[in-house]
Amino acid sequence: MSPDLLDATFTALADPTRRAILARLASGEATVTELAAPFDMSQPAISKHLKVLERAGLISRGRDAQRRPCRLEARPLKTATDWLENYRAYWEDGYRRLDELLAELGAEDERRGDPPSGARS
């Protein structure tokens, strides 16, 4: 996947309406009218969002000239989420160690302060 397309993917995902559209399409294809229904937005506004999603390769439009149903294209989304997942995993290691440290510091505080129940020997 080219950096340009990946950039387009992240730009497309930065908008809450577009994320909601993708979430809707995850449960099956839909027309512009169907997609516009839950939003307080005009069809042209929704169409604009769809163009951004289409350019990012996140959705494709059907050939049927009347309906042109939209469907989710999973691959670019997966590349983008793989990135986020790797980034997440990178930080998660440190935060797990921080959990242990915080638990230890909490126990020290209890020892120094008023132990709540005497459960600690």
Partner: protein, 160 residues
């Protein structure tokens, strides 16, 4: 540990930001300390296999910080910056750049510590100078992992 702690989420709400959210089962005073006291930071900060060997902190607005981590192969990674906002125990803002800077410009790191019923939710926001810098930084842990893998492979091939 209570429910709701432990899950780390990463989002990119704008073109120039990476936002991470993580809950910790501790009061925010303690979590804030763990992010600002060198003797505590040395015990947890860093990715797997990396140890914080230098941790210098001048905790005042305009004061500098400098970290050096040592990797599994003995390689060093240094980074540092300047504290911009310090509001214990709720907010910490500093600039960050790396010795071996691989994305353009410095970034601005903001930590918000919110406490509810003894659980602290930490929101960390990294703001980059450009979208290109953000995407490079976002890609880098994976690239680093790949590079480490290749290093190990090279070592293995040499030993054969």
């Amino acid at each position: 540990m209570s429910d709701g702690t432990g899950a780390l989420t990463v989002t990119t709400p704008t073109d120039r930001e990476i936002v991470m959210t993580r809950a910790f089962d501790a009061p925010r005073r303690t979590v804030f300390d763990a992010f600002t006291r060198p003797e505590l930071l040395k015990r947890w900060f860093g990715a797997r296999g990396w140890n914080l060997v230098v941790c210098e902190i001048d905790l005042r607005v305009g004061g500098t910080w400098r970290f050096v981590s040592q990797g599994p192969d003995g390689g060093d990674m240094g980074h540092g910056g300047v504290y911009r906002v310090i509001v214990p125990p709720s907010r910490l803002v500093y600039t960050e750049s790396f010795d071996d800077q691989w994305y353009p410009g410095e970034s601005l790191v903001t930590y918000d510590f919110a406490e509810l019923n003894g659980v602290t939710t930490l929101t960390s926001t990294v703001l980059y100078e450009s979208k290109e810098a953000r995407d490079t930084a976002l890609r880098s842990p994976m690239e680093r992992g790949v590079a480490e893998g290749y290093d190990r492979l090279t070592a293995l091939l040499h030993s054969c």
